[in-house]
Amino acid sequence: MPSASSVKLSCKSLWKVYGKNPEQYFTGEVGSFNVEEKFQQLTENDSIIACGDVQFNIPTGSIFIIMGLSGSGKSTVLRCLSRLVEPSFGKVELDGLDLLNQSPKDMIEIRRHKMGMVFQNFGLLPHLNVLENVAFPLKAQGISKNERSARANEMIDLVGLEGRENSYPHQLSGGQQQRVGIARSLAAEPEVWFLDEPFSALDPLIRTQMQDEFMRLQKQLNKTIVFVTHDFHEALRLADTICIMKDGQVVQIGTPSEIVLAPADDYVKKFTSEVPLWKIIEAQSIMEPPDGKDVDRPSVKPDTLLEEAMRLFDGKTEEVQIVNESGECHGILTPASIIRALYRDEKKVG
């Protein structure tokens, strides 16, 4: 989890409604109406609510994952953030700048310099080769051919596609095509990186490989990321924060372990039921208060995963202590607390 830092991107009371002239239902300020009443009013008028009353803040440099099944409105929210889809109502702020008030011209400038996006089916231009595809955003900015080729080549090296510069998209495998998509989205060095189900069209093995690659890139680049997926495991693996959506509304926002340990409702619980909990739960979230004993026993950091902590219990060990960086003991883990957590005894965890 990132340390407390400034908010990079946020949205407030974001609505996208399809139907006859949906703007007529939104007149007042943000927060000036009752959300439930508005939902009812819109549904009665045969409007289709793609997303309603969505709000969240994304800190700089963190990975924010929007998770939901198809039709949950996750892609709509993502597209509202870049105004690929024009929201019906609400506020979207990037570095405190209200994006919905920007002129089309200013929006183009913002997309050119601050945003990059990766698409599910890659969205590569079929008539351009790898190099030209990656350099395309730079071409749109009017950067000279030599300069953009040099920068595109850097990006191609970054995603490991050296040697395929002159290939065309249809000659590449799905994984390679998405690497091109990633390189292109990073070519203009954006601050915010949007990924719309980037790995959903890939085979499971390639998908895991690309996820690792993605984490490697993020460690190196430290972008602010909005990532959309329908794969709960993917979300758990990659996210700093997960936002679960259903029927156009946010159901729960939290860190992976918060969501797994305290699902907001039955809908979320269904997703968490098949998750290997020991791979998500951190030691600190299920520890018991320190017992004050001063004995020689194994110790772990607060954010160590249970998977690792569990291995420390050998024949002699009865508890493991949790120690922070300055050596203070925060609490202890006992076999009983771990068993309770893995069996989802909700009273004792969190």
Partner: protein, 697 residues
């Protein structure tokens, strides 16, 4: 999703539900009413000839408008005509001046660049035929018209297509206009063009541009609409301005589809240039064929017709090779642009220098021409002499037993000399008794549609298409439209019928309908069988496919030559030409439909223990039916389209009306007859499409 809701609002399902109960009753009523009219009113002239007092002089009115319009704007159109004449004369002059060797080698080079060695060799061989047979001059004249026509049509089509893509309102207007432009026979709008632009080859050019633009418009719209939304979004997210996004993202992505449009535009342009030859005034290859055909010089007309075939194949293969080579990395890559230009200039220079020094390479000498027209004529005469009886008999049989009954009915076509017996009251009684028994049996098994169809078809054969009262048509056809497609189609069909009657072209319209329905019926049976055969055998399929391809790329005109050669002029000849052209979609769609039946369905059939016959009838044919229906629809449209061309070899009907109007430069008459053809075609199309879409729901 929003679209689905919209269509549901426009066409509620209730109508379809209600139809099911009302329809049999309506049909019963209409059949009873029709029987009354035909039996009791058989002596009333009023019922069989549409009363003149109800006719409106639409043609005269159109003439009046047309002439007013021409008087006002003639100067403007004549100006355009002048402006266009310059580049046309220039290209024509240039191509005539160019040694044939230079032209042929450059065309071969372009063909090779697009499609590799095969396309190159084919192009060269076909061009050499034109040279050797001695039709270079006429061929190049035709080609120069096509060459000027293409950029004009492509540019116009692209602009209209972009407009249609950007504005939904414009799209509706454009699509409707295109529908009319493509269903109104090209001859019909030659007349107003003649009036506006004056006589001369420019008219051919303008008509060709108008005729060749629609496919480009359609393919541009199609291509742009089909750009995946993700690609469009990726352009936006790359920071494109709307203009950058259009030219750098959308147009290149839609480009392969647009190249298909260029191919179709080119073929349409060639077809129209050939057709426009009937205006004359231009020594082109179409005129040559037509002239020879009129003089019954078959050898000559075949040799000239082959030139048209060559031109069609060359233009088709070259444009198609560029369209298929969508990306620069396909199997044949060709040269890079710079190298290509260098090669082009090099070949031009070398071939030109060669042609300067060696005269036969510049203009092929008459002495070296190979023009076996006389030998061919002798051959044709020999064939006719040897097989004349057989040809004559088959023609007569077809006339007596199929064409005449459909046209005039048994009542007016069964005579002892032809059928061997006379239509006595006893025979008539037996005939109707069998029909009523058939209908009764169908009713007993609760197939009311069949019970309606039996007396309907029986009556058509008994009275003939031209022998049935217009009142009956007014009752039966709209009801048919209602049963097939619902209220909108009904309105369209009824409106079309009224137009045909009121404008005074009802009788020729019936003749056209008669000829076309016989041709379509034969196409459905023959084409269906061939399609089935082709779907079961790879070898048959491999033989039929190139034949179909050729039949479709040929300008329709050429198909007339062999038909006239063996059967002279008349309904039967026209019928053959129509079938040759219209059978292609029937074969294709049947084969494709049967071949694309999902293997899982067939396996499911086999494992359920179906016999091969059951698999064919109950699985394959059922699943292929939607495709076959599309084939029938296409065949009908092709048939109507060819009908007009076939009028050149002496049929009566609307096609002939258009020719008469053309020869008299009677704009009103021509437009009314052309519009009549278009309305018939569109009515048939709408009924069938409504039926197909309802079946597939």
């Amino acid at each position: 999703m929003a679209e689905q809701i919209l269509t549901r609002l426009i066409r509620p399902n209730k109508v379809v539900l209600a139809e099911k109960n009302i329809l049999p009753i309506l049909w019963g009523g209409v059949l009873f009413f029709s029987a009354l009219v035909m039996i009791l009113g058989s002596d009333l002239k009023l019922l069989f000839e549409f009363p003149e007092s109800l006719q409106v002089p639409i043609a005269g009115f159109l003439d009046w408008i047309m002439f007013g319009f021409v008087d006002l704007f003639k100067w403007f159109f004549r100006f355009i005509s002048r402006v266009l004449e310059w580049p046309m004369r220039a290209v024509q002059g240039f191509l005539e001046w160019l040694p044939w060797l230079t032209f042929a080698s450059l065309a071969t080079f372009i063909a090779w660049q697009g499609g590799g060695g095969r396309t190159g060799i084919l192009t060269l061989a076909l061009l050499l035929y034109i040279v050797i047979v001695g039709y270079w001059y006429e061929g190049i004249n035709t080609l120069s018209l096509v060459i000027i026509c293409i950029p004009l049509a492509v540019l116009l089509g692209f602009s209209l297509g972009v407009w249609g893509h950007k504005s939904p309102k414009a799209n509706v207007a454009i699509q409707t206009t295109l529908d009319f432009m493509q269903t109104i026979p090209a001859f019909a709008y030659l007349i107003p063009i003649l009036l506006l632009f004056g006589f001369g080859p420019v008219v051919g050019l303008i008509a060709s541009v108008i005729f060749a633009t629609p496919p480009m418009v359609r393919n541009t719209i199609l291509g742009l609409n089909r750009v995946p939304p993700e690609i469009r979004e990726s352009g936006t997210m790359s920071g494109c301005t709307p203009r950058q996004r259009f030219w750098w993202v959308e147009v290149p992505t839609a480009f392969p589809q647009m190249l298909i449009g260029v191919n179709q535009t080119t073929m349409a342009a060639l077809g129209m240039v050939i057709i426009a030859a009937i205006i004359g005034g231009f020594e082109d290859i179409g005129w040559e064929v037509l002239g020879r055909l009129r003089k019954a010089q078959f050898g000559q007309s075949i040799l000239a017709g082959m030139v048209i075939v060559c031109l069609a194949i060359i233009l088709d293969r070259i444009t198609l090779s560029y369209a298929k080579r969508q990306l620069p990395t396909e199997s044949h890559t060709g040269l890079r642009l710079k190298q290509f230009m260098i090669g082009f200039i090099g070949i031009a220079a070398i071939s030109y220098i060669l042609a300067i020094f060696i005269e036969p390479l510049r203009i092929w000498p008459k002495a070296l021409e190979f023009y076996p027209a006389d030998a061919m004529n002798t051959l044709v005469f020999n064939i006719i002499a040897n097989f004349g009886d057989f040809l004559e008999t088959s023609k007569n049989q077809m006339q007596y037993f199929v064409l005449l009954p459909v046209k005039l009915g048994f009542t007016r076509s069964i005579f002892p000399i032809t059928w061997g017996f006379a239509l006595t009251p006893t025979i008539i009684g037996i005939y109707w008794f069998i029909i009523f028994m058939g209908a009764a049996i169908a009713l007993y098994f609760r197939h009311w549609q069949i019970a309606v169809a039996i007396p309907l078809i029986a009556s058509i054969l008994y009275f003939g298409i031209t022998g049935i009262s217009w009142v009956v048509y007014l009752a039966v056809l709209p009801l048919l439209a209602f049963s097939l497609g619902g209220s909108r189609v009904t309105l369209f069909v009824a409106g079309s019928l009224i137009f045909l009657m009121v404008s005074g072209i009802w009788v020729p319209a019936l003749v056209s309908i008669y000829l076309c329905s016989v041709a379509v019926a034969i196409c459905i049976v023959l084409g269906g069988l061939m399609g089935i055969w082709a779907s079961t055998s790879e070898r048959v399929s491999a033989i039929i496919r190139p034949i179909n391809d050729t039949l479709q790329t040929l300008p329709q005109f050429v198909l007339l030559i062999p038909a006239v050669m063996f059967f002279r002029v008349g309904d039967f000849t026209a019928l053959l030409a129509i079938i040759a052209y219209a059978i292609v979609p029937m074969i294709r769609y049947t084969e494709q439909g049967l071949r694309t039946v999902s293997p899982t369905a067939i396996e499911a059939g086999i494992t359920s223990g179906c016999t091969p016959a059951q698999i064919f009838w109950q699985i394959k044919l059922k699943l292929a039916l939607p495709q076959i229906l599309v084939g029938i629809n296409q065949t009908t449209l092709f048939g109507l389209n060819m009908l007009v061309i076939a009028a050149l070899v002496g049929t009566t009907g609307l096609g002939q009306q258009i020719y008469l109007a053309l020869s008299k430069v009677d704009a009103g008459g021509g437009i009314v007859a052309g519009l009549g053809m278009a309305l018939i075609a569109m009515s048939a199309d709408r009924m069938m499409r409504a039926y197909i879409s309802r079946r597939s729901n």
